[in-house]
């Protein structure tokens, strides 16, 4: 078996090469003990098994970043046979900086000169053979995006296994004596690598290497200081300069630039995209288009996906025990509750799929670094980073998003403090699932100003996220490590279809996993808390009496017809009723074309019942019974609804809701609101269903859900404003909290991420409600005031100086004196 380590700088197309040679059999894990992803793949060639491990992309091979440490430990501990170094052909000089360091290790290296097509397009003529001679290793040209070069690379790997390592040496001139001295100190019980490489790394001050060579550390420290004094350059700067000089030499000897000085397509595009006056409008336009497309088209797609979900629901109902008039078995209730919870979330999948695909396109094209470049100055003021853009956008920058993939996307942020701040502020962005909730409340209490309120809500969240980030970075996160913002702006290139689809599905899968696991788990708990202890014996008796009365009246009506005998038992009537409801549910979620099939199905299954469900034109008696049946169905629904309300009121959750009332009343929340919030913790999508059903009063009124709520709840627009404010600030859902724990690696932060927003939300809501009641503000006024305060606070905080950089790279006396 041949073990290959795949190394390369970021943006060199390493992943594409990885996919190219290892095919589809990939395995993703984590490097031991850290949150760095380890991707490996296996394939066979001419009887040999080859395992390829994709090392994290790094610009250098020192040990200053976690990724570099991980890569180095892998090479030292796992001892791969060959290193394949992917180099961006259009960016050879900088890429060689890493190549040199890899060549010095002492293991065979195969250089893959990737993106040859881009280099050709830029008019670069590259003498591949010459580079191979100068590097003393095989160099394979390739174009990963075009799928070219696979055979050559694999061939080179096979050959490298049998070819002995050709020593590659850069003459470090003034440093050579020191290198030799250090080499002498390294004994044979050191790790398996070239002694020269170990010596160079030790002189560089590489922490991973020095850990393994304790004796060497003390000895050379003095020598390094001597070198610095003698040549006015520390060892690291010296080495870097020599390496870049060598890279320069190789570059000029093997590359001819035919179009030097000519503007590339990227330059022209950047001229517009980064233009002082056009950049922001373009940015907003792009974000707007993304949301518009994903929401409008995604919604159209749900027309096709909903029937599938509905069919699933009907299937579940079908296999659950039948209801016996108003006695619905708990299993059935439970099954329906679970399916509803899952369906509510799954219905969003088309929208998220399109949203994530569009964002993946943006990432692939190379727009993200430009976004970071444009926004860095603003984000910096709040303790965030230009790279926080993607997570915030995924979390919902405009109309909506999902915090789960948003937080997962913070993986790439180098600056530790900004990363933590981003993780803790993404949850404040517009959670898509909260939107139906807002719509319900806005429709009920703010119908006239709905557009304005929605605008407030969507835009307030970004400011709130910024404020929270600022507060956190100046208090609890003050001491975290920050990093310099040195970011490459790679050339634009066309996105690959495979890459986009893969990433979009990856993120949607993350969303589905959250549904499948956490949401369902919490939903189970909530079901128990909403159902138990159940109706009191008194209530049960009362409802039974009413049910009996309804049945009796039905029997009486049926008796007047010739069908009376067959419809005189509870069993037969229940059967009829259940079939009727089932039929109607299936017809609802089917297209008109399928209606015929459904009818035929039912005719075959239950011909007797169908007589009354779809009475023939000439059978007046059947029609009478049909009318009675419809009334019976409605009445039953009414009773079930009342039973449900009673159950909720006396349930565990209801009890908790009521016991919180003394505190929540300051925010204007009564126990019903408390219950709705608590029960939607599993997934905010279910807040509407719970709230809606609590207020549904189907008896005599002919009102829409919003109208019903407006009239029956006794709330004022001010109440609604407070409720909306609270909803704005509370954390999206349990799934988000779990992801926070995953990314921060600590339960402490997860708990913080739960209780801090809830407290903040509650205080804000209470403040607005109590002040509003005192001053007699209307709902809109109160909310506008809240909005205004948020903006003012954000602007104020932005103007406060950011705590000075924690990395010790600040000013030196000499440079200050000079100017």
């Amino acid at each position: 078996m041949i073990k290959v380590a795949l190394a390369g700088q970021p943006n060199c197309g390493k992943s594409t090469i990885f996919n190219l040679i290892s095919g589809l059999k990939q395995h993703i894990a984590n490097y031991p003990g850290v949150t760095v992803e380890k991707k490996s793949g296996t394939f066979s060639h001419q009887g040999e098994t080859i395992e390829v491990v994709d090392l994290p992309g790094t610009y250098s091979f020192s040990s200053y970043s976690l990724e570099e440490r991980v890569a180095k430990e892998f090479i030292l501990n796992e001892e791969p046979d060959i290193i394949v170094n992917v180099v961006d052909a259009s960016n050879i000089k900088r890429n060689l900086y890493l190549t040199f360091q890899l060549l010095e290790i002492g293991k065979p290296v195969v250089v893959v000169l990737n993106m040859m097509d881009v280099a050709a397009r830029r008019g670069m003529d590259i003498d591949v053979q010459k580079i191979a001679r100068m590097l003393s290793c095989p160099v394979v040209p390739a174009s990963g995006a075009r799928g070219e070069g696979k055979e050559a690379i694999v061939e080179a790997i096979m050959q490298a296994k049998t070819t002995p390592y050709n020593e590659f040496k850069i003459n470090y001139e003034e440093l050579e004596p020191l290198i030799e001295e250090t080499q002498a100190l390294i004994t044979t019980d050191s790790p398996q690598a070239s002694r020269r490489w170990l010596a160079i790394k030790a002189l560089e001050g590489d922490s991973v290497i020095l850990e393994k060579l304790p004796k060497v550390t003390l000895a050379i420290r003095e020598k390094c200081l001597d070198f610095h004094r003698q040549y006015d350059k520390d060892v690291e700067s010296f080495l870097a300069a020599m390496r870049y000089d060598s890279a320069d030499v190789i570059y000029h000897q093997s590359v001819v630039e035919k179009q030097q000085g000519k503007k590339t397509a990227t330059d022209i595009a950047d001229g517009l995209i980064l233009n002082r006056w056009l950049s922001f409008p373009i940015l907003f336009l792009i974000i707007f288009l993304i949301y518009q497309s994903s929401i409008v088209y995604g919604y159209k797609l749900t027309d096709y996906t909903w029937p599938l979900l509905a069919a699933f629901k009907n299937f579940i109902i079908g296999i659950s025990p039948e209801a016996d008039f108003t006695q619905v078995p708990m299993i059935t209730d439970f099954a329906i509750w679970m399916v509803n919870s899952a369906n509510a979330l799954l219905n969003y999948i088309p929208i998220f799929l399109i949203l994530f695909a569009l964002i993946a396109i943006l990432e692939d094209v190379g727009y993200m670094p430009r976004m970071a470049f444009i926004l860095d100055r603003i984000f910096k003021k709040f303790g965030l980073h230009g790279q926080s853009t993607l997570p915030l956008v995924l979390g919902g920058a405009f109309v909506g998003g999902c915090a789960v993939p948003g937080i997962m996307a913070t993986k790439g942020i180098a600056d530790e403090r900004a990363r933590m701040a981003t993780i803790l502020s993404v949850p404040y962005m517009n959670c898509l699932a909260k939107v139906p909730f807002y719509t319900l409340l806005l429709g009920a209490f703010f119908e006239a100003q709905m557009a304005l309120m929605m605008f407030f809500i969507s835009t307030a969240t970004l400011f709130i996220a910024l404020i929270v980030a600022k507060i956190l970075t100046t208090t609890v996160l003050k001491t975290r490590e920050t990093s310099p913002f040195v970011m490459e702006l790679p050339p634009y290139h066309l996105p690959t279809f495979k890459g986009v689809i893969f990433r979009a599905f990856e993120r949607v899968w993350m969303y589905i996993k959250k549904v499948g696991t956490i949401v369902l788990a919490v939903a189970i708990v909530l079901f128990a808390m909403l159902e138990l202890p159940g109706l009191s014996d008194e209530q049960k008796v009362a409802y039974e009496a009413r049910s009996d009365a309804l049945l009796t009246s039905f029997y009486a009506q049926a008796a007047k017809t010739s069908y009376g005998e067959q419809l005189s038992t509870r069993e037969s009537v229940s059967g009829l009723l259940n079939t009727y409801d089932d039929y109607r549910a299936r017809r609802m979620s089917a297209s008109p074309a399928q209606a015929g099939n459904i009818d035929a199905d039912f005719e075959a299954k239950a011909p007797f019942y169908m007589t009354f469900i779809k009475p023939p034109a000439d059978d007046a008696e059947a029609k009478t019974i049909n009318r009675q049946l419809r009334n019976l169905s409605r009445d039953r629904r009414g009773i079930l609804q009342e039973m449900k309300n009673d159950k909720v009121e006396s349930s565990l959750l209801g009890f908790i809701g009521r016991s919180l009332e003394p505190v929540t009343q300051f925010a204007g929340f009564d126990w019903k609101i408390n219950v709705a919030f608590l029960s939607s913790f599993a997934a905010r999508e279910s807040a509407v269903a719970t709230l809606g059903s609590i207020y549904e009063n189907n008896a005599a009124d002919n009102l829409r859900a919003e109208e019903a709520m407006a009239q029956n709840s006794g709330y004022t627009p001010l109440h609604a404003a407070a409720i909306i404010i609270f909803m704005l600030l509370t954390p999206p859902c349990i799934a988000t909290m779990i992801v926070v724990k995953l990314q921060t690696g600590s339960y402490k932060w997860m708990l913080f991420a739960i209780f801090f927003p809830i407290t903040l939300g509650f205080l804000a809501a209470s403040l607005i409600f109590t002040l509003g009641t005192g001053f007699g503000w209307s709902g809109v006024e109160a909310f506008a005031l809240f909005y205004g305060t948020v903006i003012a606070l954000a602007l104020f905080m932005g103007s406060l100086p950011q705590k000075r950089i924690n990395w010790s790279g600040g000013f030196t006396k000499s440079i200050l004196n000079k100017s």
Partner: protein
């Protein structure tokens, strides 16, 4: 003079990098070595950071970090 003072379109050569630790290593890795040529492409729309071209690729650097790079005009 320092890199952050230069206007868009200027070409310069690096004399010395006066940074320490994390920033220094990062700059070295990215090619900010003595003698390397850097050209200033533009400032961000909000005047910070700066976009630079060095060793044939494009890079973004905050002005507070660019201040630590001593350069001379070419």
């Amino acid at each position: 003079m320092c890199l952050d003072e230069l206007a868009s379109g200027t070409l310069c050569r690096i004399i010395k990098v006066h940074a320490h630790d994390a920033l220094k290593y990062k700059l070295l890795d990215m090619g900010f070595v003595s003698g390397a040529q850097v050209s200033v492409v533009r400032e961000a729309p909000l005047y910070d950071p700066m976009e630079l071209k060095i060793h044939n690729y494009l890079l973004s650097l905050r002005k507070s970090e660019a201040k630590l790079v001593e350069v001379e005009l070419v």
